[in-house]
């Protein structure tokens, strides 16, 4: 009995801290649905729940364009991260070939070069290649060392029997990859996809560097310009913020386990 009481008290204390911790998020969502007078009166809950702020932000800012830019860039990049990472991860994790250690070292070396430390020349390189903002942002993130590490470790862990059985049946390299390895790696692929989707969706510095006009902004850059916009009140701005977090939050809630495994796996292995 004493044991149970302690557990309940602990849960209540954690609940209080959790409520405080969630408050900013809660405030963002409720503010986005408050009318101006409820905002000024600092009502905890809106007196009348309204979607006016959402109409206003869609009308007055280019939220639609920013959203589709973000979707396009994030979607294509994530897809690229998976395809390129899968290929490299499979080669490093599973195949035997001369020069493997050198290739491995070459790829690892990039992990100690922070992109921010070379941002000027990265920008100039993309410009020299004649790439536009969107193409640059995609190319920039498509080769992910984290993806290669997660996937090559996963492939390393797959037992040899499956591959050997397929070889005896006369399967070639490509068939082994597409028919045996990739289906078995779906959990790792999901992890890579979700973690990268959220990273790229939220990226700020690179889209800021490549941002040319307000039509080309991604959501984070677009939203950041609303800070200095005196025509827009907090309500619509919070509506924009809420809209911008929906895709990642939904994905996180649906694939929580993979997400957390990805974050932990990328660092601890």
């Amino acid at each position: 009995m004493r044991f149970h009481l302690g557990r309940t008290i602990r849960t209540i204390i954690v609940g209080l801290i959790g409520a405080l911790y969630t408050f900013p998020t809660f405030w963002m969502i409720t503010s986005s649905m408050k009318l101006e007078k409820d905002l000024v009166a600092m009502k905890i809950f809106p007196k009348t729940w309204s979607l006016d702020n959402y109409y206003k932000i869609i009308e007055q800012a280019k939220i639609g364009a920013w959203f589709s830019n973000s979707m396009f860039i994030t979607g294509i990049t994530t897809l690229g991260v998976i395809v390129i990472g899968l290929m490299a991860g499979y080669a490093l994790g599973r195949l035997k070939f001369p020069g493997k250690n050198i290739m491995y070292a070459y790829i690892i070396a990039g992990m100690v070069i922070p992109g921010e430390g070379i941002m000027i020349t990265v920008f100039l390189t993309m410009k020299d290649l004649g790439l536009g903002a969107k193409a640059s942002l995609i190319i920039l993130h498509v080769a992910s060392a984290v993806a290669v590490m997660i996937l090559s470790n996963y492939f390393k862990g797959i037992a040899n029997e499956f591959e050997e059985a397929a070889r005896i049946d006369g399967a070639g390299e490509i068939k082994i990859l597409t028919h045996i390895m990739i289906p078995m790696a779906v959990p790792a692929i999901t992890t890579v996809a979700i973690v990268h989707f959220s990273w790229i969706w939220n990226d700020f510095l690179w889209p800021l560097i490549f941002a040319t006009s307000d039509k080309a902004y991604t959501l984070p850059v677009g939203l950041s310009t609303l800070i200095n916009n005196s025509d827009l009140r907090f309500g619509p701005v919070m509506a924009g913020s809420t809209l911008s977090v929906i895709p990642v939050v939904v994905m996180f809630l649906l694939f929580q386990r993979y997400f957390m495994r990805g974050i932990a796996g990328a660092t601890l292995k």
């Binding site: 954690v14 998020t25 195949l95 290739m103 070889r167 939203l223």
Partner: protein, 295 residues
């Protein structure tokens, strides 16, 4: 099963073909810009006219550039404010959530959630809290009869306020890594300790924390790198470095010199110094992860 020579050769070709896309893209976006940046630090270039070779002049100028040193001091100041609390809070939260409480899954979501918000959302949210007159905090303060606080008007206060927002935003990452590490500690360790009559704080201090040493090392280095790279939230919450540009951090300085003032060589020289700083920390990380693998 040993492969025969011709299928071995096939596998070599296949392996390199598989590595090709990664290596090509990676060479274009990382390795080439890296060497390019070394060269660029010896040039003066505004993108429009031809670059001019100026030897070590960028470096010499940078050494006496008061604004550069201010931005370096600022990032070290901000790192000192955020790094240790971020590690400690991550550990404490993970210890609490992994203790015997109800609804672990819900708490995990709650404490992790802000991590998946973009820096713009986080900044907008906290500006709503820190607003001088209509901010949530000051309205609450005034209601309770307390004087309103100037959250963002001095550099010290601004860094303090932005640190709070940053901790709220980033806590989830360290928390999650610690949580994963805690789950890997076998239950028998604790059972043996509880039979010996150890109290919970003894258990944490003498058992859990030493067992988490490797994790703490990883978390500390990742946190240090992340803190040194802080830019967006400081830039946005202080309104591009207010008051008077005094809260600008190094990445802000580089961004401004490069993309607003178009001093490509000079900006890249500053970026190179930043690179060296982060590189030093990354090397320690690589060394540690290798020494762990050896064991």
């Amino acid at each position: 099963m040993e492969l025969n020579l011709s299928s071995k050769k096939k596998q070599w070709v296949f392996a390199y073909a598989m590595l090709l896309p990664y290596v090509v893209v990676y060479t274009i976006v990382k390795i080439y810009p890296f060497f390019y940046s070394l060269v660029l630090t010896f040039f003066k270039w505004d993108i429009i006219q031809d670059p001019v070779f100026i030897g070590f002049k960028n470096y010499a100028k940078l050494l006496t550039d008061e604004k550069f040193w201010m931005s370096m001091r600022n990032i070290l100041h901000f790192t000192a404010l955020t790094a240790v609390p971020a590690i400690l809070l991550g550990l404490i939260t993970a210890l609490i959530i992994s203790s015997d409480i109800r609804g672990k899954g819900i708490w995990r979501v709650i404490f992790f959630l802000p991590y998946i918000f973009s820096v713009s959302v986080v900044s907008l949210l906290w500006l709503l809290m820190y607003g001088p007159k209509y901010g949530l905090f000051n309205m609450l303060f005034v209601k309770m009869g307390l004087p309103p606080v100037e959250w963002l008007t001095t550099v010290n206060m601004a860094f303090f306020s932005v640190s709070i927002a940053t901790l709220w935003w980033g806590l989830g990452f360290n928390f999650l890594i610690y949580l994963a590490a805690l789950q890997q500690i076998p239950k028998d360790f604790y059972e043996a300790a509880s039979i010996d009559g150890a109290r919970w704080y003894h258990r944490i201090w003498y058992l859990t924390i030493p067992l988490l040493k490797r994790t703490t090392l990883t978390v500390a280095i990742l946190q240090l790198i992340a803190s040194l790279k802080s830019f967006g939230q400081i830039y946005l919450i202080t309104g591009k470095g207010a008051p008077g540009g005094k809260s600008k951090v190094i990445l802000h300085y580089i961004y401004e010199k490069g993309f607003l003032e178009l001093k490509m060589g000079y900006a890249q020289t500053a970026a190179f110094i930043f690179f060296l700083m982060v590189f030093a920390v990354s090397l320690i990380q690589l060394k540690i992860s290798q020494s762990v693998e050896d064991k």
